[in-house]
């Protein structure tokens, strides 16, 4: 069931997907558009269940329609009890029903067995895997690439870079309420529960960008708590990780220098961290390499300089109920700050 996906089966999968969800299948984060062996085994099982269910449904509906049609043309409607007690029809009904029940039990058991095998496959723990600690917060994901040497730990937020072909073990917990991490293309969802530590394995076998989001209702902005996963070839991943380890770039022109001053003298300093500057609060996402991320505010906005400025001025316009407060910066300070943040590659 697990194994690498041969080409033929992939076409069958695409056909099944087309049958099931014509419009939905196109968007890239559908559960039926797997990019890893785990999601693929579940997608195949799903197609098995769907096809069996469709067949069962058509049979039962056909029998029902036949039964109703047959009885609408029958004789008068008054002689009540005798029709029911005729032995011959009862015996035949009893046989048909016992066969149907036996068939139902058989089908259900085979489906349960299939699920057991897939479940068995999913719960196997890979040995040498990249460990990433993911902590859920109200409305964003704190990501830390684990490493025995503390100085080599990469801290980022809302975006995961993983090497293609190498299993990645996510260690999941939460700081506040229950969240649930779900990347439909890669794997099933797993909850992040305060006081518990769950693990989930991700393995992408083709490069690409896969979006995911929080799947357990976690409060006002549950809808905009998204997570981007970038599966990259190992070389590209290593380069990215190396870049992330560096401190923040120093401001290269006056505007950026003024932006850094504004950052260190206004409300940002109490929550955010930019390594290499005075800002070291860990309450909010780490902004050291903010510009290297494609989205801001956990996927609520694309990461452009203008979006950054409007987000900083009034976050509640985009995510009402978010913990980040509105700021009262003058326009020129705001522009300088945005320019500086946009330079933090």
């Amino acid at each position: 069931m697990m194994g690498r996906l041969s080409n033929a089966r992939f076409r069958w999968l695409a056909v099944g997907c087309a049958l099931l969800a014509p419009p939905g299948c196109s968007s890239n984060h559908a559960a039926m558009n797997p990019a890893g062996p785990r999601a693929r085994s579940i997608a195949e099982l799903m197609l098995g269940f769907v096809s069996v269910s469709t067949v069962v449904y058509l049979i039962v509906s056909a029998v029902l329609v036949w039964a109703i049609a047959r009885r609408r043309r029958a004789g008068t409607s008054d002689d009540w009890l005798q029709r029911g007690s005729s032995e011959q029809s009862n015996v035949r009904s009893r046989q048909v029903i016992s066969w149907a029940t036996a068939l139902t039990v058989l089908i259900l058991l085979t489906l349960a067995l299939c699920d057991y095998f897939v479940m068995h496959g999913l719960s196997s723990r890979p040995t040498d895997s990249l460990r990433i600690l993911v902590t859920g917060h109200q409305y964003w994901w704190e990501v830390e690439y684990d490493d025995p040497d503390p100085s080599r730990r990469v801290r980022t937020a809302n975006e995961l870079h993983i090497p293609v072909g190498k299993p990645v073990e996510l260690v999941l917990t939460s700081q506040d309420v229950i969240h649930s991490m779900w990347m439909p293309n890669l794997s099933g969802k797993k909850d992040l529960i305060p006081g518990h530590q769950n693990t989930e394995v991700l393995l992408a076998d083709r490069p690409g960008t896969f979006s995911g989001q929080c799947a357990e209702f976690c409060g006002l902005q549950h809808a905009k708590m998204r997570l981007m996963v970038y599966a990259e070839p190992p070389k590209q991943f290593a380069a990215w990780k190396q870049a992330q380890l560096q401190d923040a770039r120093n401001p290269s022109n006056d505007i950026q220098r003024h932006g850094l001053e504004v950052f260190e003298s206004s409300t940002c300093i109490l929550c955010h961290t930019i390594q290499g500057t005075q800002a070291a609060a860990t309450v909010a996402p780490d902004l050291t390499h903010l510009a290297s991320r494609t989205t801001i505010a956990a996927g609520a906005l694309p990461n452009t300089q203008s979006n950054l400025a409007s987000w900083i001025l009034a976050p509640h316009r985009f995510k009402p109920g978010v913990q980040m407060p509105a700021t009262q910066l003058q326009p020129d300070d705001l522009a300088a700050l945005a320019a500086y943040l946009a330079s933090l590659k």
């Binding site: 506040d176 305060p194 006002l220 003298s265 206004s266 409300t267 300093i269 109490l270 929550c271 609060a281 309450v283 009034a314 509640h316 316009r317 009402p320 109920g321 913990q323 407060p325 509105a326 700021t327 009262q328």
Partner: protein, 183 residues
């Protein structure tokens, strides 16, 4: 007589509903003004001649449970616990007792947070936006039970160090000069 009673009941009911509404409202894009007359706040009750009571603006979030709970969150995030512990005080003075060194009126507390105080209280002017400062003010007042019981937050999902704000008794504020009691 019964119509009189009916009127009273209706009025009480309307008052209750208004209180209920205010407690539960969630205002996200709210930006209450900084008190204009911060300079007119007096830190000490002692005044020559007739004493003029301090008259800063009231705390906008006294009846709003959501804002007070946000204040409690900020009390932890901005590391107020570092000096004030859970309200019982360690390096900094206790906030849950009835002693107030720099005045117990909301505007006084606002001024204390924004201006800072001698003996180690840092100034957070421009470092915390006004809305959050007012949330912190409301929470600090709830530490000594100044707010309504149904507005004050109950226990946090942390170690249980003291009774929750909503179950701590309301203490009448007393102005005291000593930063920390020596008894």
């Amino acid at each position: 007589m019964s119509s009189r009673f009916l009127e009273l009941a209706v009025v009480a009911l309307i008052a209750l509903t208004l209180l209920g509404c205010e407690r539960e409202s969630r205002r996200f894009s709210d930006s209450p003004a900084t008190p204009r007359g911060v300079q007119t706040i007096r830190q000490s009750e002692l005044q020559p001649g007739s004493s003029i009571p301090t008259s800063g603006p009231p705390s906008p979030y006294d009846d709003n449970a959501y804002a007070v709970s946000q204040g409690k969150q900020l009390f932890e995030w901005f590391n107020c616990k570092g000096c004030h512990a859970d309200g019982g005080g360690s390096i900094g003075p206790a906030l849950m007792d009835e002693k107030w060194i720099y005045g117990s009126a909301p505007a006084n507390i606002y001024a204390t947070i924004v201006e800072g105080r001698p003996n180690g209280m840092p100034s957070f002017r421009d470092k915390i936006p006004p809305q959050q400062v007012w949330q912190l003010v409301a929470y600090v007042r709830s530490l000594s039970g100044q707010l309504r019981k149904d507005v004050e937050p109950s226990r946090a999902d942390h170690l249980f160090t003291r009774k929750s704000e909503s179950s701590s008794p309301k203490s009448a504020p007393v102005s005291s000069s000593a930063p920390r009691d020596t008894q």
